[in-house]
Symmetry: C2
């Protein structure tokens, strides 16, 4: 006879969690995020209800995306910036989007010891990247986590991503300001940056501008500045800035923050801030629909084996892919 | 009382068209392509049946994609290459993928006078880009047209595309060999080429290597060759080549063709040729499924007005996009 397993810590009801979140209880926040990150159907329903209730809370938070190759110093940058923001009276949440992370491998934020100060600070909330097989899934979970953090009173949300695949595009689509961290290299400064990332960045910040590296970093920032002028200005009129900083020495971080505040202020005044949020929400709706349609189709237990059959036929050129798709969609529509 | 309109030239039955195509009757081929390009439901059904019947015919054709910015001389290149291929005993079909073209504006191949020789040649078949609002639609139509042309005995299919948006990716996904035409510039030769295109190209050919331009063109080809070596080799082991030619003077075109034949031969011997075709077919199936799922959903007359409502709510932050998507998909599933 199988043992009946009981959950050690039964999940509280939706209303209890929402109440806790709004009070700023990090344990309630953490458990709600666990629901958002779960793939279990009953968890998903609870998560939906919680997100829905949190949505009406706290609209004033600022969402900042931070990207850069491994080794550029993202964790230290976030540690230093986060500590500065908290000293100024903010509560700061730090999230991550890293679709390559899994529970077992740990994510870029998994090693919390890399943010020693911040992790001990009661006004900081740090959450590693949700594990997930698709970027779409990870992005959805992070977006909903942002809403929960904002409802819990975190006024600044920092979202870290490593420059892999399309994850920057996903993070760019959920933040108000997108910052690209760089190191100074030799000469051809924009070499090796994916062109699309430069076009998304609101600022390039050359990190590790300390010691003997200061001059090289400043030269790199200058080269970036020139290069950035070659790009057409953004829709909102903002010309991306190029700055230097040293996260370990805590120099230049305050200037970076002032620049971000300047950006936010200008965009709030022009109405672009809210417009961008609205556009992001609409895009997110369309992405969610597409993601969901595909998963309904490809995970359908009647359709899945049929797809296999058609893939074989299509590869053998005995049926046209378009015709095969049509037949599969027909089956999908008729079965429900 | 409204007049009853009769079609001046009633569309022949499927079998009649297929028979005509296989005989190499260009009028039957042209009418079948018209069915493929139509968005009418009854036309689509006929087109499906025709494509299905043609699929088993003629597998030996070679499909070549040709891209390059406007002014690089794509039409002249195709005219010269096509004439050469026909002189060698081939029958050549020329198609185009240009999602920006419309019936009224005409497409890049619409101005047939730009291929004066080829258009008069009985062994050439030239068809402008189908008009269509989405790249997906245009690509689907072109893919099916390739099948019809091959069934009609065209042994070489040249597919032209202008470097706009994602159309190169679409063409790259339907050809055996992908050729990027370039002009010689000054200095930084890979500047201004979208990085993704260079990674897709099996060869870069510097056109207009004639008169005073020869040296510059050869220097450009050398620079390209060096740059191409910086990219990792292709899965099939092929290192992309950089050549020069003059389409107007008809120099170097034969060398380009020999290179393509060398590529085809090597890839057929290694099995990569067939593997690539199979992979393309499978990708095309998945693309067709996604395209079709979306159009079923977004064009559904019950769902469309609901989407509008949810877009408004989502933009006002009164419902989470994910939750809205879930509700919309629920409606879609329950209505059928």
């Amino acid at each position: 006879m199988p043992k009946i397993q009981r959950e050690k810590h039964p999940m509280p009801a939706v209303d209890v969690l929402v109440e806790g979140i709004i009070k700023g209880d990090t344990s309630a926040l953490g458990r709600a995020i666990t629901l958002v990150e779960s793939n279990r159907k009953d968890h998903l329903e609870k998560a939906n209800a919680i997100v829905q209730k949190c949505l009406s809370r706290s609209r004033d938070a600022i969402r900042i995306g931070i990207t850069g190759v491994p080794g550029v110093g993202k964790s230290t940058f976030i540690e230093t910036l986060g500590t500065l923001l908290i000293a100024e009276g903010n509560r700061v949440a730090v999230l991550a989007v890293d679709p390559t992370s899994t529970q077992s491998k740990g994510s870029i934020l998994g090693d919390k010891t890399r943010m020693e100060e911040l992790v001990k600070n009661p006004n900081a909330f740090i959450r590693p990247s949700p594990s997930g097989e698709t970027l779409g899934g990870v992005a959805r979970k992070t977006r909903e986590t942002i809403i929960l953090c904002e409802a819990a009173g975190y006024s600044i949300v920092l979202i870290e991503t490593v420059g892999v695949g399309q994850s920057e595009t996903a993070v760019h689509g959920m933040v108000d300001f997108f910052l690209l961290l760089k190191l100074s290299g030799a000469g051809d400064e924009l070499q090796g940056i994916k062109r699309g990332i430069v076009e998304m960045a609101d600022a390039l910040v050359v990190n590790k501008a300390d010691g003997e590296n200061i001059k090289k970093a400043e030269a790199a920032a200058k080269a970036f500045k020139r290069a950035l002028h070659l790009y057409p200005p953004k829709e909102n009129g903002w010309i991306p800035k190029a700055l230097t900083c040293s996260a370990t020495e805590n120099t230049g971080i305050d200037t970076v923050w002032d620049m971000i505040l300047d950006y936010i202020e200008k965009n709030k005044a022009s109405g672009n801030f809210l417009e961008k949020r609205k556009r992001q929400n609409r895009n997110w709706l369309y992405e969610s629909i597409e993601e969901r349609l595909k998963s309904e189709f490809f995970q359908d237990e009647v359709i899945a084996p049929e797809i296999e059959k058609f893939v074989t036929e299509v590869m053998a050129d005995t049926i046209s892919p378009f015709h095969a798709a049509e037949q599969l969609i027909g089956m999908f529509k008729n079965k429900s």
